[in-house]
Each structure stands twice: as C-alpha cells, then as structure tokens.
C-alpha cells in the first residue's frame, strides 16, 4: 500500500535510529533527532524500534492513506487530526482507505514522528533508511518529502491487531520531557581547557538556543566560554550530543546530522536521555546544563532502554489478549 504526500510540511524526512558502521569513512550517522519519540511511535504500531518513521518539523505534512493500516504519532504536539477529527499523540489509530492525516499549529515541541504499521518500504542505504539530506542518500530519494510523493509501506501482515485502541502510552513513560530546560551532561574531554569562570558558567548559567540550529547542530548563546589552554586540537570523533566550543565562545550542541569528527574543544557530552528534550526545543528556548557523572548517565541510558523494552512487551501482551 502507499501513502500520498498532499503537503510536505516544513521539513519531513524518513529517519530510523541511524546509520552505523560507516562513520569510519566519514559517513554521518543521521537518524531521528528524538530517538525516544521515534521508538515509542514504532512500538505502538508493532514495529521494531529501528524501523523508519516520518520526522515532521514544526509544520507537519498532510498524508492520504491508500489502504487499511495502523499509525501512531509521538513527540511534538503538532495538533494531528484524522479526517478533520483531532487525535492524540502516543496512541495507536486504525486507518481506513482514503483516510487523511493532517497537522495544524505547533502546540508543544518541535519534531513529531509518524509511524506506520509495517514501516516504510524503501531500500536501506549502507544499512539504514535514514535520509542523509546533504549527501542525498537514504530515505525517500535521499531528500525531504515533496508534494505528490508516494511512499510505499512495508508488508503489513495481520499479525498486529491492537485490541484496544483506547490505550494511551502512560505518562510515566513520558517523563523524558519533564524539566525541559534542564539538560544533564557529563564533563567533556577538554573541560579542563576552559577558564574556571567558563567551567562554572557552563553548568550554572542559562543558554539560549539560537535560530542557527538544525538537524546538524544547535548553536547556543549565553556566557561566552573562554579557553585557558589554547592548544591545537587534532580532529577526533564527536557524538550525538557532544557540546563543542569554537573560538568565538558560543557552544554548539551536535545533533543527529553531526559530522563524524570535529576539531573544537569538547566542553561536555549531553546525557542521551535528555537528547529528546533538545530535539523538541525551538530557537529562543532556554536551557541550563546540569552536571552528572559518566556512571549516572550510563545507568539512565540503560533504564530508558529497559522501559522501552517493557513498553514493547506490554503492547505485545495487550494485543494477544483478543
């Protein structure tokens, strides 16, 4: 079956959890900016976590479905509606032929994820369905969606039959979005290179996400961060959430479409569990970084993965009841 894109929205692209094994060749990882919302939406329609979803940005698309299926939307609240009737995020909906999914104004967050049962039938490039916009590979023809595009969905067998479509993913699972302005982070490899004033300011003062922010990285502004040691740093790998500081002193938080390597000093590494908050932040939003230990960051990561595994098991069990 296929889905027709009546309106593409501001920036809608196919993303999964990223392209790995090729970073050694300089191929960026890409993937969903909010891996939590992406994963939850997939699980709600019976897909594996790594299946591709549509990532919509601020202004969502308008889609028409050719045939019966199930969908779920996670992440930003872009006022989704099905055939003109409002629907909720974090919930599974049955789709009938010619149903229209549409989005309105952005009520909360920045990026919404639309998962379809069976996923999207697009050829993975280097092991991933994520769209790498700059290199023009992956996803749907290597680009953001355009009006008139038709996306084929994966073979959706009747194995997934939600018994109760009234079930909403519990609030407890959505605590990732509490304290939106508090971003936990671990000291970076070059933290000691900064002056003690800048070290203190980084973990105490407020930073504003600027308009120079996209899938590649967010430029933040606040206290200008200064180096004590002005040593040349040889390029080395960077990760999703690495905070690096170029000479002018404003931190850049690297996001999903980050380059594989960087040569700026790394002041911090954002906790993985707080990346969804950043993915849902908009230019003008303010954040304060809060220091946590490497161990705590890793334990939080493991707990979140276990919670998502529980969600997956829970959905499977519920759907077996009927």
């Amino acid at each position: 079956m296929s889905i027709t894109i009546d309106k593409p929205g501001m920036l809608t692209s196919l993303q999964d959890l990223g392209r790995f094994s090729y970073q050694q060749f300089g191929v960026i990882a890409s993937g969903a900016m909010d891996p939590f919302a992406h994963t939850a939406a997939n699980l709600l329609v019976g897909n594996p976590a790594n299946e591709a979803t549509l990532e919509a940005t601020l202004l969502g698309p308008r889609l028409t479905f050719e045939a019966e299926t199930y969908i779920a939307v996670g992440g930003a609240d872009l006022t989704p509606s099905l055939n003109g009737k409002p629907i909720q995020n974090w919930r599974t909906y049955k789709i009938n032929p010619n149903d229209v999914l549409e989005f309105g104004k952005c009520r909360w967050g920045c990026r919404a994820y639309i998962a379809v049962a069976g996923g999207f039938d697009t050829e993975p490039v280097m092991g991933s369905k994520s769209t790498y916009l700059r290199a023009g590979i992956g996803g749907h023809q290597g680009r953001a969606l355009k009006e008139g595009d038709r996306l084929k969905t994966g073979s959706f067998t009747s194995t997934f039959k939600p018994v109760s479509l009234k079930w909403l993913m519990s609030r407890g699972l959505r605590t990732v979005y509490e304290n939106m302005g508090r971003i936990r982070a671990v000291k970076g490899r070059h933290f000691d290179y900064f002056t003690s004033e800048s070290q203190n300011a980084f973990f105490e003062k407020e930073f504003t996400i600027t308009t120079k922010s996209d899938r590649m990285g967010y430029r933040a502004e606040g206290t200008t961060l200064q180096l004590e040691r002005k040593e040349e740093i040889l390029s080395e790998p960077v990760l999703f959430g690495t905070v690096q500081v170029p000479a002018e002193g404003n931190p850049i938080i690297l996001m999903a479409d980050r380059q594989t390597t960087g040569g700026y000093p790394k002041i911090a590494q954002t906790a993985f569990v707080d990346l969804p908050k950043l993915a849902q932040a908009k230019p003008g939003d303010k954040v304060v970084f809060q220091e946590i230990s490497e161990e705590e960051a890793q334990i939080n990561y493991i707990i979140q993965k276990i919670q998502l595994n529980y969600l997956q098991t829970g959905i499977r069990l519920k759907n077996r009841e009927g």
Partner: protein, 239 residues
C-alpha cells in the same frame, strides 16, 4: 605498546582509546591496525570503530553489558583489552598508493593564482609542488570519504578563505593551512580550491562506499580540461 593506551568513557555507548597526543604516522598506523582487528574480530555488543589522528573511538551497546557489580563501560573495556591481547604483534605498514588525476586552475581551481601569490611563486610551481609529494591518509571525516592528508609542503600553504563558499563542487581539491584535501560531495567549505578531480571518492551504492581508506597513500597528477571531461564522459558511459 598497548599498556600505553588510555581508555576513556565517551558518551553512554562509546570508549575513546587514546594512543598519543601528537600527529605521528606510526601511532596512526597502529590505530588503523587496531580498528581493523576489532572490526574483523568483533565482541558481542560491538557496533563500530571511528579512527582519528591519535584516537580510536569504539561504539558499543551497553545493554549487552549489564552486571550488578561492574559498569557497562568497565566490562566493554575488558572486552577490548582481551581482543587486543590476541592481536598479532607485527608492525603495520602503509596501505595502497592511490593516484588521483587533478585538473588544476581555471574554473576547476579558482584559488590557484591566490595560493601562488600568497607564497610568491607561479601557479605552475604550486602544481609541481602539489603533485611531487606523496600524502598519507590519517583519517576520513568532515564529509563521506573526505581524506585528512598529511605531508603537504609548507611552500604552498594558504589560510582558509575568510568567508566560506556556500557550495563547493564535488571533486574539488583544496588547501587549508598546511593541509590538502578533496571534497567528495558538494558541500559548503572554506578551503582554497586549486583544482578538481573527476575521480569519485564516495559511491554510496557500492558495498565499499569510499575510494580512499585511512592508512592509504595518495599521489596527485595533472590532467588537462579535455582529459577531465573525457574521464567524466567515460564514467557516465559506464554508469
């Protein structure tokens, strides 16, 4: 040798292996040898390696290392140490030498004259110096297949452009400081462009998507605009 490696936690799912702190070909070769060994002999939970000048980052899945006493990081480090103990001791040598045709100057290299005048030499001298040396690929990064090359002569060094170009054609060969490199895809960038190669450095549809590999050596040779277009036309034909 391996007693000298520092294992540092990097994010929740990464370990940064620090082999040294200054650019050194021997250290870099050791990094690529280690990366290859880990790729060829992965441990359970291994995801990938990302080699750089003096570091090797290993990404892993912490969910494979859940233990009530030890952290996932500690357990993954143990795995890497174990793997490295069985790595053969022989010295690693440089990889292949790959020759890259470049059409210098004109529209292909709009900054060639600039690089020449900065250094007080003629454009032709820039070309002879650039084609004379053999370069070593320390790492790939910045863009898919983009080589960080070491070994350029100081006589043709040139600073980055004060304002980066919004779009640089793929295949462009540039100079930034004492580095030279090739842009495999069209991208914004601030390097001074001295020429362009018709050779494809990034082929995403292939199993092995990049031409150059870290540890390889590169040599440039000059071609004419006619040869450039003929090369391109021939390649189109084979597509």
């Amino acid at each position: 040798m391996f007693q000298d490696i520092k294992y540092l936690s990097f994010g929740e799912a990464g370990i940064l292996l620090e082999f040294g702190s200054v650019m050194d070909k021997e250290i870099n070769l050791q990094i690529h040898k280690t990366a290859k060994w880990l790729n060829d002999h992965p441990f359970d939970g291994f995801i990938e390696t990302v080699p750089a000048y003096t570091t090797l980052t290993v990404l892993y899945d912490p969910m494979k290392f859940i233990h009530f006493k030890k952290s996932a990081f500690e357990l993954a480090v143990e795995q890497i140490r174990n793997k490295l103990e069985s790595m053969p001791d022989e010295n690693s040598s440089v990889g292949r030498t790959i020759e890259i045709p470049v059409c210098y100057g004109g529209d292909f290299g709009p900054d060639l004259e600039n690089v020449a005048s900065i250094n007080g030499i003629s454009p032709q001298e820039v070309i002879s110096i650039h084609t004379e040396k053999t370069y070593y690929v320390y790492m790939l990064g910045f863009a898919p297949g983009f080589p960080f090359l070491g070994g350029m002569a100081k006589e043709i060094a040139a600073p980055r452009l004060s304002s980066p170009r919004l779009s640089i054609p793929k295949g462009s060969v540039g100079i930034a400081g004492e580095q030279t490199g090739i842009y495999p895809i069209e991208t914004p960038g601030g390097w001074q462009l001295i020429g362009r190669t018709p050779t494809k450095l990034f082929t995403p549809d292939q199993d092995h998507p990049v031409l150059l590999q870290a540890g390889d050596q590169v040599k440039f040779y000059q071609i004419t605009p006619e040869e450039y277009h003929a090369w391109e036309a021939e390649h189109e034909h084979h597509d």
